[in-house]
Structure formats: C-alpha cells, structure tokens
C-alpha cells in the first residue's frame, strides 16, 4: 500500500486534491495554514471581525465544495483569495443595498478601530503601537473604495504580485495595476490629510 506524507507536510495543491476526495482533515490543514491570512485580509477589507469570521468560514466551505473541480496549478493561494475577494465584494455591495433599503449607517470609525488588533499584538519597536497611527492607517484604509482597498491589501498584506492580484480580483493585470496605483495614491493623500 502506498504511504503518504503527513497532511501538514503536503503542498496546497495536494491538500485541495485530498479535500476534493472528501478528506476533511485536509481541509482542516488548509484552514490552519491559510485561515489566519484570509481572516486578516477580510477583517481589514470589511473593518469587522464578526463579518471576517463568517466570511472566512464561507471561503473554506466554498473551497470544500469546489475542490473536486480544482485543477492543480500551484495557484491555490490566488484561488483562495479570489473566493475571499468575491465574498468581500458581495458583502460590500450588500452593505450598500442595506444602507439604501434599510437606512443603516455605513461602518463607523469606532467599528474600524474596534476591529484592529490591540497594541500588544505589535512589535515593541513598531510605530503601530501608537494608537493614533494605528487609527489613522485603519481609517484611511476604510475610506478607500472597495476594489482599491482589496488591491492594496492583497499587495501589502499578502505581498502578491500585480498578476496575482489581477487573478484574485478577476480582472486584467492592467486594471489591477491601476487599482493599486489609485489606491496607494489615495491612501497617501488620506494619511497626509490626517497627519
């Protein structure tokens, strides 16, 4: 009988293939490996820990259901963030609809600040231990238009290349570059205005 390496030693593509065969343990390893990154991305994209919890679960449920159709190309991360990015965009659209139909207020600065990690989570040398810098950065990010924010987060949080960002956002590399450039420029303006 062919022996297999322990699941946690397998690459992402092999884990997705195993998940596609119905191995829940493979999904668990993927959740442990990628879950915190997906969660961090969604938390900052949506400025809400609660929504990030829900949509991180949803991301992996969708991965589980789509895994049998996955073709291994070594692009599991881009695929995962594409699912998460789609969910984030849907949620941002839903918030717009809710604010139109139900008169709900958009995310407040308090929500944004509440969704940030506590100062203790940062390196002692990091300027982000200072409340005002953390608040300014989070507030500026929250003010970016949805797709620009996603592009900026994928670049700076996930250190993705423009091609990977394009893949994750389902757009062309040129459009991704433009989103990223506009997002970064706007972020600089917002931070300068708050300084």
């Amino acid at each position: 009988m062919e022996s297999r390496a322990p699941l946690h030693e397998l690459g992402d593509d092999d884990l997705v293939a195993a998940a596609g065969r119905g191995e829940r343990e493979a999904l668990r390893v993927l959740v442990e490996r990628w879950g915190p990154r997906v969660h961090a991305f969604l938390r900052r994209a949506l400025s809400s820990s609660h929504d990030a919890d829900d949509l991180t679960q949803e991301t992996f449920l969708r991965l589980w259901r789509a895994a049998p159709r996955y073709r291994p190309q070594g692009r599991c991360a881009a695929w995962l963030f594409r699912i998460a990015g789609n969910l984030a965009r849907q949620e941002l659209r839903r918030r717009k609809v809710r604010s139109l139909l139900l008169g709900e207020t958009p995310t407040s600065l308090d929500d944004v600040v509440d969704s940030l990690p506590a100062p203790a989570a940062f390196d002692p040398e990091s300027p982000l231990r200072a409340d005002e810098i953390r608040r300014a950065l989070a507030a500026a990010l929250a003010k970016l238009p949805g797709r620009q924010r996603l592009a900026v987060l994928l670049r700076f949080y996930e250190e993705m290349s423009t091609a990977e960002i394009a893949d994750a956002l389902g757009t062309s590399p040129r459009a991704a570059e433009s989103l990223l450039a506009r997002g970064t420029r706007r972020l600089r303006q917002l931070l300068r205005a708050q300084a």
């Binding site: 829940r24 961090a40 449920l61 969708r62 139900l102 990690p117």
Partner: protein, 188 residues
C-alpha cells in the same frame, strides 16, 4: 533631456525593489519629489505589512476550524445551493430577517391602505353628491358627473373643471339656483 516624474505604478514598483530603467534611476537620484513619494510609499508598505502580521497573529490558533467544521456538519440550504445562489440567499436572508420583514410588510400595508383610502379622502370627495336637478339646471356638466363616476385620463383636467363647476354657484348670488343668474353674476 528632462524626464517627467515617475508615475504611481513606477513608484510602487521601485518601492517593491523592482528594477527601474536607467533614465528612471537617474531621475530618481535627482528629483526630491519622487524621492519623497518613494519614501512615503515605503513607510506605508512597512506599516501595512506590520498591521497584516499583527492581525494574523492576533487570531488564536485553531479558532477558525470549529466554525468551518460546524457548518460542514450541518449544511443548511445555503451550503447546498449552487455558488451564485448561495450569495443571493445570503442577501435574501438579510432582507427577510423578522424585523426587516416586518418593516417591509408595514410599508406595503401602509401603501395599500393609502391607495384604498385615497379616493375617499375629503379633498377628493365631492362636497355634495351630484343630483339630477343640478345636472339639468347646468350647475354641473355631464362630463364632471362622468368623471366623478368613472375617473378621468388626466387628473389635472378634472381639477380645473371641478373648480369651475363647483365654485361658480358659491361666488354668485344664485338663490334661485338657475344657471342664468350665475352667468349674469347674480344680477336679476
């Protein structure tokens, strides 16, 4: 030759350590504006990277799996739907929350009530019913009676006619109730 400043994508590329062209490098060495832009993007890059790392680190290990597993164990309608419909069902669920559904139902009932009551409101109701004698005596026109019974194509036209037909008797001293005296301005 004077080279224009680096645009945002090139500043971003430089901040990521990507190789610049010779003329771009030369420009960057001399242009204070581009140097400041690059330094600013680098600062933002560092801050965002640290924020991302802190956010990833602040999540307790193993916290996510129980939630995913619970949803795998008890897949509801959403988990069985095709992907696009699952997203739609999320919005539907949102809109159909009891409190939201109650607000919508109240709105619809209010609208229907408004439509039902509108023709009976005092402003639309004739102050006194048309009578055969008022029609014969010319105090109201046949078209006004028709419109009050069957409606009119243009409410505006009806309003004008109504005003003319109804206000004339009140303005004239028409004690006899004849159309003649009304047209004469009440003079005998």
């Amino acid at each position: 030759m004077h080279r224009p400043c680096l645009d945002a994508p090139r500043i971003l590329a430089a901040s990521k350590g990507e190789a610049l062209g010779a003329d771009e490098r030369q420009h960057l060495e001399t242009c204070v504006r581009c140097q400041e832009g690059l330094a600013e993007v680098r600062r933002i890059t560092v801050l965002l990277k640290e924020l991302g790392e802190a956010e990833r680190g602040s999540l307790a290990p193993g916290r996510l799996w129980p939630g995913v597993e619970a949803r795998l164990e008890a897949p509801g309608l959403r988990a069985r739907l095709p992907l696009p419909l699952a997203g739609l069902s999320r919005l539907t669920q949102e809109v159909l929350r009891p409190s939201v559904a109650a607000a919508w139902a109240a709105g619809v009932v209010g609208l229907l009530l408004g439509i039902w009551l509108a023709p009976r409101s005092p402003s639309a109701e004739p102050e006194e019913p048309y009578t055969w004698s008022s029609l014969v005596e010319g105090r109201v026109s046949l078209s006004a009676v028709y419109e009050s019974s069957f409606g009119t194509e243009t409410g505006e036209a009806r309003g004008v006619e109504w005003e003319f037909e109804r206000e004339a008797p009140a303005s004239g001293d028409d004690s006899s109730g004849t159309g003649e005296s009304r047209q004469d301005g009440g003079q005998p």
